[in-house]
Symmetry: C2
Subunit: 321 residues, 2 copies
């Protein structure tokens, strides 16, 4: 027991203050969640590992916020509104109370920002790298959920925000893209460290989007998931891909940016008739939304240039194994 507070002490000091009403102060065996009539709960879980998904010396508050946000992004990708989360931490015994305090501080900040609360979890020790697992719960009106399997030939493919920034940010953290100006490097690193889950956009697309997910494996790989689930093909116009100024300045090929992961933008399909509504939504949320391609009969995803010629794509998303 190298540190002072111990498991119960850490829960009492750092995590109990984050608990919402359903969490019962984190002292009961389980949390209670009410579900309004006519609604369904939406549940997702994601885990991150030190040295794989984050670096052991990353700021703990940013690690916490990224962990929470990637899960909120999954909730948003179903068209749902986030409500609660459970957190299980397996931490090296050498990580002291201060690390946990700063980690909890990051959670508190994002709880305020996104209106969610902690309702349970577990904390254990590990002799290896930290493993952090979070389960997020949200709610959605029954029947309004947006799945991956609803894309139809003729749909337009849309993506929010810009793509490739997080991929570049991770590389920049490792010393790449040294020619970029400091502000652009900082922007890309921030995009890697602190994704912006599209929690307002997701629910607003209910009734508009036919299929949706969030971009985590890479835009092309994730569009492939939609195509597989919907039994359709997709064609993406490389010149249409929305890039930030920093990503454009990086000089990186568009095929590579569309294969990088961790964007946490929403990728969805909608009928052409929805274009005007989507543009209005983009304006009201002050969030760019870009039509990047079309859904077709067949299978697979093709990236094409301005002349319609197919561009070869090397990687198809990050794989853990």
């Amino acid at each position: 027991m190298p540190t002072g507070l111990g498991e119960f002490g850490r829960i009492r000091e750092f995590f109990a203050p984050l608990a919402g009403p359903g969490g019962l102060g984190l002292i009961d065996d389980a949390a209670l969640v009410d579900c309004p009539a006519g609604h369904r709960l939406v549940v997702t879980a994601d885990a991150i590992v030190a040295g794989v998904h984050f670096l052991p010396d990353d700021p703990p508050d940013l690690v916490a916020r990224k962990l929470l946000r990637v899960n909120l992004s999954d909730i948003a990708a179903m068209g749902a509104r986030p409500l609660y989360y459970l957190l299980t931490t397996a931490l090296p015994t050498a990580w002291d109370d201060d690390w946990v305090a700063r980690f909890a501080h990051g959670l508190a900040e994002d709880q305020r920002q996104f209106g969610v609360a902690l309702i349970g979890g577990d904390s254990v020790a590990t002799g290896g790298p930290a493993v952090l697992s979070l389960t997020a719960l949200g709610e959605i009106e029954s029947g309004k959920e947006i799945r991956r399997s609803g894309a139809l030939p003729g749909d337009v493919v849309w993506v929010s925000g810009t793509i490739g920034d997080a991929f570049l940010g991770l590389a920049a953290l490792r010393g790449a893209y040294a020619a970029l100006v400091p502000e652009q490097r900082a922007y890309l690193i921030d995009r890697y460290r602190l994704p912006q889950p599209r929690v307002a956009l997701g629910p607003a697309l209910a009734g508009i989007a036919r299929a949706m997910l969030d971009v985590s494996d890479g835009l092309l790989a994730d569009l492939g998931h939609i195509c597989d689930a919907s039994r359709v093909a997709a064609r993406v116009a490389a010149p249409a891909l929305p890039l930030s100024d920093a990503a454009a300045a990086s000089g990186e090929e568009r095929a590579r940016l569309a294969s990088g992961g961790d964007d946490y933008e929403l990728l969805f399909t909608a009928p052409p008739a929805a274009t005007e509504r989507i543009n209005r939504l983009s304006a009201s949320l002050a969030l760019p939304m870009t039509a990047i391609g079309t859904i077709e009969h067949g299978s697979g995803v093709r990236l094409v240039d301005a002349e319609g010629n197919e561009i070869a794509v090397a990687a198809a998303g990050y794989r853990h194994f």
Copy 2:
């Protein structure tokens, strides 16, 4: 990539067949859970670490079943009925597909036994020991939940089954209690490796038990949690503690058995007038239930001998930090 299937392949081969209807085949960003009118969902999460909570060469199917069962035990401890679970695995890259296949086989077996289904999760790789985290969901009629905070002075303290077996089983695995006959050693080891979550008893105690939890830290420590939450004291009669034949034969002191963890029996308090109902329940479930003490004014837990003299207790439950 030392193994063949990869993350998506493992999900498709081993985990997708375990998915319930709400799990959407594990291909969407999140699962959908219906909640019947007048009910609440009950949610809990527990994590286990190789080398801490299980041994790397433990049979994978037993590891899976224990992980699932400790969570089902938490659901039962609220008086709720288990429905679904999400699983996140952080596995060493050296653990091959066969380990995962056997792990999933254990889950399948217990899904049949307990009527639950997988609805989501995540799988990642780690350079350290395996960390497995599971979130279980159950349902309960609104207002019927049994919390830790409801114990009242005058209540009888009850526990299901027998206590201390898992503690002895872990020690036996490490070579202790060599004098026990093989059948008794095997019984104790089985109790450690494969807890029996009291999923029928928990919901049956709604309207009977005033406070409840499952014994994971050790009977005395967990009774202390009830006392803290309920702002009461408890007195436990050591001679009343229910021991298995194997535990009795071990010769271990009752104070030690009441401090060992991992029993996963239900510990609850109820008014004396409920005694007859509890005895009938015990008979109908063919599960021993034993009155082991009383709730009193004050704070803390005292273990007393047949003459009412306090017995000193060294450990107060297992702490991870």
